[in-house]
């Protein structure tokens, strides 16, 4: 078990290093965006003095290196700074209430919503895709296999908003089973939330199933020529059991990796679906913040996205290591 622990610690350290490098990239990239917040908020009639005052107030007049380390130091303490857009510039007219919304306060509910949507989608999509992949491998080259392949490919090839509208048409307009708007808010019961989230989750399921299903199928079929599968067949084991018990455990590593990639996508890349269903997730907040150059929010979102990617890939790595009996049970 020691060697596994060592590998995991190594991966963790590497993950942290990656996150650090990513933070530099994020900071640099965000600061290279043309225009700045002061100009964006004051508009065309801004006087140079007013721009300067706001810049100073927000600390934008300091050098980029200083700002980076201030931001990083804050982020390490869990303080992601204050949102520019929510800041109260009333102080310029002598009426500063002193209340500013922190980025964390602003992001937290949105992030929770995004995780909820991702969680519901994963709960539907992962079992669905893996089962479909196993069945496709079992009945490979049959009509079922082809239909499964073609339909998942079709759904992944169509734009997300299109799939969303198709689902709205069929499940909300023609057969009003589910609500077409997913405007969830605090104080809703879990059931209500789930009902409102179901349609975007189904849309996303259609988007992510193809990868996972095809990888499951391919990873299993890849193993079917191996001697231990032949052995299982020659022991008179039923085809379904051959695949689930003999092929699947050895095919887990690539499947886990593809699942992790798709889960990361569910957290970071679902802005279009959020917009279509008016779902208050982090993606919308992110896009809005970019529009008005709300740098602290943009940076925080980027950092969360990066962390999600790294964490999920790390988890996939660790799980695929654990799926290998050679590492779990050394000689």
């Amino acid at each position: 078990m020691n060697s596994v622990l060592k590998i995991i610690l190594q991966r963790l350290a590497l993950g942290l290093l990656t996150l650090f490098i990513v933070s530099i990239v994020i900071f640099t990239a965000v600061n290279m965006l043309p225009g700045d917040f002061a100009q964006a908020i004051l508009g065309q009639s801004a006087t140079p003095e007013a721009v300067e005052a706001i810049r100073k107030d927000l600390g934008l007049d300091k050098g980029p290196v200083t700002r980076y380390f201030e931001w990083l130091g804050g982020a390490l303490r869990g303080d992601l700074g204050n949102s520019f857009a929510q800041a109260n510039f009333a102080s310029f007219v002598g009426d500063d209430s002193g209340v500013r919304t922190s980025v964390a306060q602003q992001i937290a509910p949105r992030f929770a919503n995004t995780m909820f949507l991702a969680g519901v989608t994963a709960a539907i999509a992962v079992p669905f895709a893996v089962t479909l992949g196993i069945l496709a491998a079992l009945y490979r080259n049959s009509v079922f296999d082809r239909v499964a392949n073609i339909s998942t490919l079709t759904s992944i090839s169509s734009p997300e908003f299109f799939m969303a509208y198709v689902l709205i048409l069929f499940l909300a307009v023609l057969n009003p089973i589910l609500p077409s708007l997913s405007n969830i808010y605090d104080g809703m019961s879990f059931g209500e939330r789930l009902e409102k989230t179901l349609l975007p989750a189904l849309t996303l399921t259609l988007v992510v199933t193809a990868h996972m299903m095809r990888m499951t199928r391919a990873a299993i079929i890849n193993l079917l020529a191996s001697p231990y599968i032949e052995m299982a067949r020659l022991k008179g084991i039923k085809p379904m059991r051959v695949i689930v018990r003999h092929a699947l455990p050895n095919a887990l590593a690539p499947i886990i990796n593809v699942i992790a990639l798709n889960l990361a996508y569910l957290i970071t890349g679902v802005v279009v679906v959020e917009v279509v269903f008016v779902y208050p997730g982090i993606g919308q907040l992110f896009v809005d913040s970019v529009k008005i150059r709300d740098i602290p929010v943009v940076q925080a979102c980027c950092l969360i996205f990066a962390a999600a990617y790294i964490l999920l890939n790390l988890l996939a790595d660790i799980l695929s290591i654990l799926s290998n009996p050679r590492l779990r049970h050394p000689k």
């Binding site: 001697p227 299982a232 020659l234 084991i237 009996p325």
Partner: protein, 552 residues
């Protein structure tokens, strides 16, 4: 061996075809096979003779891309070719079992041995899980596996090759089948391990009166195991007879030629002068992979025009020594001399001339040749790199080399490796080594992937080239028959240490080092009573791993 005269398997006029490039080509061309209950039939032939294909067909099973085009397979009155998939599945594992060539590949790496053992009995409803596990331990004990109560709870990678092969035999026995197909069960094993597995298999097959089809390319092995032997050649039956009769009085020329293979023997060359400078001198080499030493103080010399055979089982450090000499693995201690000059330990620090003097021929010619490069280019590259020849001169030199390895240049120059047979590929490997015009060539198990007749051709070629070009060979092998035929001197290795070395004639005469003795006595002989005699003489605890363990 407990033949009851009652018919179990009857295959009539079997024709089988394999699919390649959109056409069906014949693999088996009309073979009949009958097997009585409790009888052991040996199926023998070269690779590609269709032994395994026929063996699997006796189970009503074909691999992907293979089909039975004609004929019938009756198992105990059941027509296996007409039976439905479900009917066949009910027989497989329960009444007909299979033991594969590589147990390491045929056990599922994700499950414990005992779980795989009890799977068939449980799925077929023969025994409950607990009963089957108990029975498995009993079988492990009968097959003399160490720690029979615990070994089943290990994963396949935690158990040695010979033990795995016995565990697989136990697994085949789990439902007490009427028939077991043994498909080259000992080919992948070392000689000392092989003998132990052979003894266990024979013992258990006899105890349960199981009928068996024993597939192998090794005559001496089949002589120990089978009541009857059937010889196959390229999908045709050559002949079939009782084991003793087949050995003493083979009828067909092909069968006779199989017997004759082991007769190629080169006389040992006279000893070299004591003050002669060896071509290669390995001096006190200790080498490690990571932090673990795998070679300990290895020393031996190889003289001009001589062949030194390095013998030992897998893991004994033979190939590691070769890697040290070529500089691929710089030794931790010690040095390598070429013609009395110390060679830099790392190949990257050697100059072109030092590099050219040491060449290598590999075991798997299949993987050692670039499949996308034509023969002319494969051999042409070292010609250009070391000889600096280009254009017409290069082509001429390549043609000379092809001539030397007895492949007509006009025919082979533009071919791809995939268009050659195994033996021809190995010849290309030899030509590539010769292209550098070296003094010294390392032959790493060059014949062990080849059939006996082809291997003999390669050995003869190497012997001729040695005489013509005054080459020195380091011949790595685990096959003592090869040693007997080609070596001048022998170095015996075990666990990274040289246990014994000397001229060939001395090595094959007693007294030996105990380990050499064990190696020599473990090589099966053509005598069908050899195994029985050896077991009576030495006892079951003095063969195989048990005997090796006693030595250390």
């Amino acid at each position: 061996m407990s033949d009851t005269g009652e018919l179990l398997v009857e295959m009539r006029g079997i024709h089988m075809e394999g699919r390649s490039d959109e056409t069906w080509n014949p693999i088996i061309k009309g073979v009949d096979l009958t097997l009585n209950k409790g009888e052991v039939l040996g199926l023998i032939g070269e690779s590609g003779a269709g032994k395994s294909t026929l063996g699997l067909a006796a189970m009503g099973f074909t691999r992907d891309g293979v089909r039975i085009s004609q004929g019938s397979v009756m198992f105990d009155g059941i027509d296996l070719l007409a039976a439905s998939a479900d009917q066949k599945r009910a027989l497989l594992g329960k009444r007909i079992a299979y033991v594969a060539q590589s147990a390491a590949a045929s056990f599922n790496p994700a499950h414990k041995l005992i779980d795989q053992h009890s799977e068939a009995p449980v799925q077929h409803g023969v025994m409950s899980r607990t009963e089957s596990e108990q029975d498995g331990m009993e079988l492990y004990r009968k097959l003399r596996l160490p720690n029979p109560e615990q070994i089943g709870f290990r994963y396949p990678h935690q158990v040695s090759g010979g033990q795995l092969q016995r565990a697989m035999t136990a697994m085949a026995m789990s439902c007490r089948p009427d028939l077991i197909i043994f498909d080259e069960p000992t080919t992948a094993l070392d000689v000392t391990t092989q003998i132990e597995v052979l003894a266990s298999i024979r013992d258990i097959v006899e105890q349960f009166g199981t009928a068996a089809i024993y597939i192998t390319h090794d005559l001496a092995v089949v002589a120990q195991m089978a009541d009857r032997i059937k010889v196959l050649l390229k999908g045709d039956e050559v002949e079939e007879a009782e084991t003793r009769e087949m050995l003493s009085n083979p009828q067909q020329d092909y069968t006779k030629s199989l017997w004759a293979v082991r007769e190629f023997q080169r006389p040992q060359k006279p000893a070299v002068l004591t003050d002669a400078t060896p071509v290669i001198s390995v001096q006190g080499v200790t080498a490690a992979y990571g932090k673990v030493d795998v070679l300990h103080d290895v020393s031996f010399d190889i003289h001009e025009g001589r062949t030194v055979a390095v013998v030992g089982e897998s893991g004994s450090g033979k190939s590691t020594t070769a890697r040290c000499i070529t500089g691929l693995l710089p030794p931790r201690l010690g040095q390598i001399e070429l013609d009395g000059q110390v060679l830099p330990l790392d190949y990257r620090k050697r100059n072109k001339d030092q590099l050219r003097q040491v060449q290598m021929i590999y075991q798997m010619a299949d993987t050692a040749l670039n499949p996308r490069t034509r023969i002319g280019d494969i051999i042409g590259r070292p010609v250009q790199f070391y000889g600096g020849l280009t254009g017409k001169d290069k082509r001429k030199r390549v043609e000379e080399l092809l001539d030397q390895i007895e492949l007509p240049a006009a025919q082979y120059f533009d071919r791809l490796p995939s268009e050659l047979s195994g033996g021809q590929k190995q010849r290309i490997g030899i030509a590539r080594a010769l292209a550098a015009e070296p003094k010294f060539i390392i032959c790493d198990e060059v014949t062990s992937a080849l059939d006996q007749l082809v291997a003999e051709g390669i050995l003869r070629l190497l012997a001729r080239l040695q005489d013509d070009l005054k080459l020195s060979y380091m011949f790595i092998t685990h096959d003592l028959a090869t040693v007997r035929s080609i070596a001048d001197e022998v170095v015996v290795m075990k666990d990274g240490v040289v246990v014994e070395q000397g001229p060939k004639t001395d090595m094959f005469k007693p007294p030996h080092h105990a380990y050499t003795d064990l190696l020599l006595s473990s090589v099966p002989e053509m005598d069908p009573d050899w195994l029985t005699n050896l077991l009576t003489e030495r006892g079951v605890d003095n063969i195989g791993d048990a005997a090796v363990d006693k030595m250390t």
